[in-house]
């Protein structure tokens, strides 16, 4: 009897499913490098019937979250039925190498109600309202504490451990990691050279640099250990070697080369803001064509050597290397630092070995004053000051994230016009560049892919103009609008708009890190499986070093991607809110004015993050 009822219920389900599930017929055409229609919208439980046609070369279809995969050769028609039983926005991507932009050929399937987006909106909204309530009731966390609990001056000194101390004191540190890295980059450069103009998704150079390195940088290195990459970067090695006349030992003499000084007014982030922006204009080549990556890396190596001959110390790293700028700014948020233990000892220490150098190490190559350093922006973590300090007064600390934002200005900041509009514009342009990258590499729109690939000169020029407008006009102006309201609302007259503009721009550091981390997750998870192939066959010569050359492409964990992205976005947002109010207190001094001045910026940050949730998960 029970069995019978069970059967009837089961039949009823099937029939009702067939009766009420709406069929949605879509003819999906694939052409390099987008789908048409590029965004498909269905309701939950609809039956999506896809007729898949490839219009030029073999294209594939892999649907995140569902795992459906198929492909069609040119001229073939495939029919596939997908039951839309999961809600959210799912990316479908090309699963067959179809050309150099193949890894970035995507479209969206939106199954409504889109709970992923609603969840993101809700969380941003709740945290925003929570911050507003705290502001109005005056219960924001105190100036010297992070989230009411963690004191900002909390430090955990790693150099107090004997083994760690002896490692960082050795002349072979960080030389050994640099040499290991040099080995990896020799392979990368050679692979990028022999890879030529082929599609880059099976090229060692392209994959390691733009998939692995970039993701590690944004997800791990910069947010946690700051300029760790600068510590192990192999490119300035030859310049250092030339200047010092020795690789390991310390030679007590004047550095080789012309030792010119960099222009005083450009001893800030401005050159890097411009240079990074210019580099991104060619990202449609660098990230997909092995030979373009080869040219970029060769230019960086040769540039580093030439600059080391003309200018003093690490001028290249400080003011020219394109990726130095965001690492410098964002590493203020990171959880490690190299700092003085006891400033009193330095005051009485006349010789200042950390600047002049001694037989244990060289004076700071990054032209910092280690005894007076209070921010990470210009500290390259080369550990020379730890080696030179005769009192063992330099420490490598773990600290709460972001404490550098609140540190006072120094004399050098005023002298070199640092920590001013240069850092504000670095933070703002990183948001604009993120948006252009997202549209070109993770968006479904043919238009943005065509412009970044520069298929015609007018398209490339429009891309340059659009990018310039977005990065240097639109994003800064919208921000300025809220800054202006903040000033008006606070009622404080004797403070310049510029100062408010700069101070609040540091809220965009955790937010920028979060969006870049979310972007990188969507790069590494779908494309990470190429790494198996390329480590076994780095030059596409048919090698199989580790027996992994035949592992096929397969996206990893892309069904969790929306949740991971919500998580990192919220993480950045919370830190931005926490620090934002502290900046407000710093600016307006009095609590009442700080409250009023904070509200417009809070609204700006909420709107900005709602927008980011929308572009990552919405539609």
């Amino acid at each position: 009897m029970g069995k019978k009822i069970g059967r009837i219920i089961f039949l009823f389900f099937i029939i009702s499913n067939l009766l009420f599930a709406k069929e949605v017929h879509v003819v999906l055409r694939a052409k390099r490098y987008s789908y048409s229609p590029n965004i498909i919208e269905v309701k939950k439980d609809d039956l999506l019937i896809l007729r898949f046609i490839s219009e030029d070369v073999t294209h594939g279809f892999f649907l995140d979250g569902y795992g459906t995969e198929f492909y069609a050769h040119p001229g073939e028609i495939r029919e596939i039925i997908i039951k839309a039983n999961k809600v959210g926005r799912f990316t479908f991507r090309c699963s067959r190498t179809c050309g150099e932009f193949h890894p970035y050929m995507v479209g969206y399937l939106i199954v409504t109600p889109n709970w992923h987006q609603h969840l993101g909106f809700l969380l941003i909204f709740l945290f925003g309202i929570f911050s507003l309530v705290l502001t109005i009731t005056g219960k924001q966390s105190p100036q010297n504490k992070l989230f009411w609990k963690i004191p900002l001056n909390w430090r955990f000194e790693l150099t107090k451990f004997k083994w760690f101390h002896s490692i960082v004191k050795s002349r072979f540190f960080p030389l050994i990691p640099i040499i290991v890295n040099l080995f990896i980059f020799t392979v990368i450069i050679f692979a990028a050279f022999v890879g030529g103009f082929q599609p880059g998704n099976y090229n060692f150079g392209i994959m390691i640099v733009w998939i692995l390195w970039w993701s590690l940088l944004m997800l791990f290195m910069v947010p946690i250990i700051g300029r760790f990459w600068c510590m192990i970067c192999p490119f300035p090695l030859f310049g250092d070697w030339f200047q010092r006349g020795s690789l390991v030992k310390v030679k007590r003499k004047k550095l080789n080369g012309m030792n010119k000084k960099w222009v005083r007014n450009l001893r800030n982030l401005w050159p890097l803001v411009i240079l990074f922006w210019i580099t991104t204009l060619f990202s449609g080549f660098f990230t997909v064509r092995p030979f373009a990556t080869f040219l970029l890396l060769a230019a960086i190596i040769i540039g580093a050597c030439i600059i080391a001959i003309i200018y003093e110390k690490r001028t290249f790293c400080l003011y020219i290397c394109p990726v130095s700028g965001f690492q410098g700014l964002y590493s203020n948020f990171s959880m490690t630092e190299i700092r003085v233990k006891d400033p009193e000892i330095c005051k009485n220490h006349r010789t200042k070995d950390c600047i002049t150098g001694n037989d244990k190490g060289y004076g700071c190559p990054w032209q910092e004053l280690p005894f007076d350093m209070n921010r990470n922006t210009y500290c390259g973590m080369c550990f020379e000051c730890i080696k030179t300090c005769t009192y063992d007064n330099m420490a490598f600390n773990i600290r709460p994230p972001g404490v550098d934002f609140l540190n006072p200005r120094k004399k050098t900041d005023d002298l070199y016009k640092r920590r001013d509009l240069d850092e504000a514009f670095k933070a703002l342009t990183m948001l604009g560049i993120f948006l252009t990258f997202f549209l070109a590499f993770q968006g479904p729109f043919q238009y943005f892919k065509d412009t970044i690939r520069a298929i015609t000169l007018p398209k490339f020029l429009t891309y340059i103009l659009e990018s310039a407008f977005l990065d240097f006009v639109f994003v800064p102006l919208t921000y300025l609008f809220f800054v202006f309201i903040s000033k008006k609302l606070s009622g404080k007259r004797d403070i310049s708009l510029r100062k408010i503009f700069v101070e609040y721009s540091y809220t965009l550091v955790p937010i920028g890190l979060a969006v870049w981390a979310a972007f990188s997750l969507a790069i590494i998870l779908p494309n990470g499986s190429y790494l198996w192939h390329i480590i076994s066959d780095p030059f596409a010569w048919g090698w199989n070093l580790f027996g992994t050359a035949r592992i096929p492409w397969k996206p990893y964990l892309t069904n969790f991607l929306p949740y991971l992205q919500i998580f990192v976005l919220i993480f950045g947002f919370i830190f931005a809110l926490e620090y934002g109010y502290k900046f407000s207190r710093n600016l307006y001094k009095n609590e009442e004015k700080a409250k009023k001045g904070w509200i417009p910026i809070l609204i700006y940050l909420i709107l900005l993050n709602l927008f980011f949730v929308f572009i990552f998960l919405g539609g």
Binding site: T58, H73, I179, L182, T186, K249, W543
Partner: protein, 124 residues
């Protein structure tokens, strides 16, 4: 001494790596290995279109698809075929050719000119 160790390590990681790559590549059974690059006719066709191999000897042919569509590899006379080589991937066949000429062609509809994608193996 430290200085020498440092310089030695730098040389190994750069020049040593490059030498290692060439040494490894050359030590693979090269003399019996031939490579054919598969490209649709409008993008250059098979490369080489005529492949000369020694007869009566075990040889390996690597078919490398550098194209953006899938290709196949068929030698009808020997009933020898690789159903599909995806774009960017490569396949190997091992075979002992008798003296003679063998046509080889693509086995997948890869472009409008698919039927012109023909090459020849000459074994002597």
């Amino acid at each position: 001494m430290k200085e020498i160790i440092g310089i030695f390590l730098v040389l190994i990681s750069t020049i040593g790596t490059l030498l290692g790559i060439f040494f490894y590549e050359n030590s693979r059974e090269k003399s019996d290995t031939f490579t054919i690059i598969a490209m649709a006719p409008e993008r250059g066709n098979w490369d080489p279109e005529v492949l000369k191999v020694p007869a009566g000897k075990d040889i390996t042919i690597i078919i490398k698809n550098e194209d953006v569509v899938s290709h196949g590899f068929i030698i009808p006379e020997l009933d020898l075929f690789i159903r599909e080589i995806k774009a960017g991937e490569l396949s190997k066949i091992k075979w002992r050719f008798e003296k003679g000429q063998y046509l080889y062609m693509c086995g997948i509809w890869c472009s409008d000119y698919h039927m012109y994608m023909i090459g020849k193996i000459i074994a002597k």
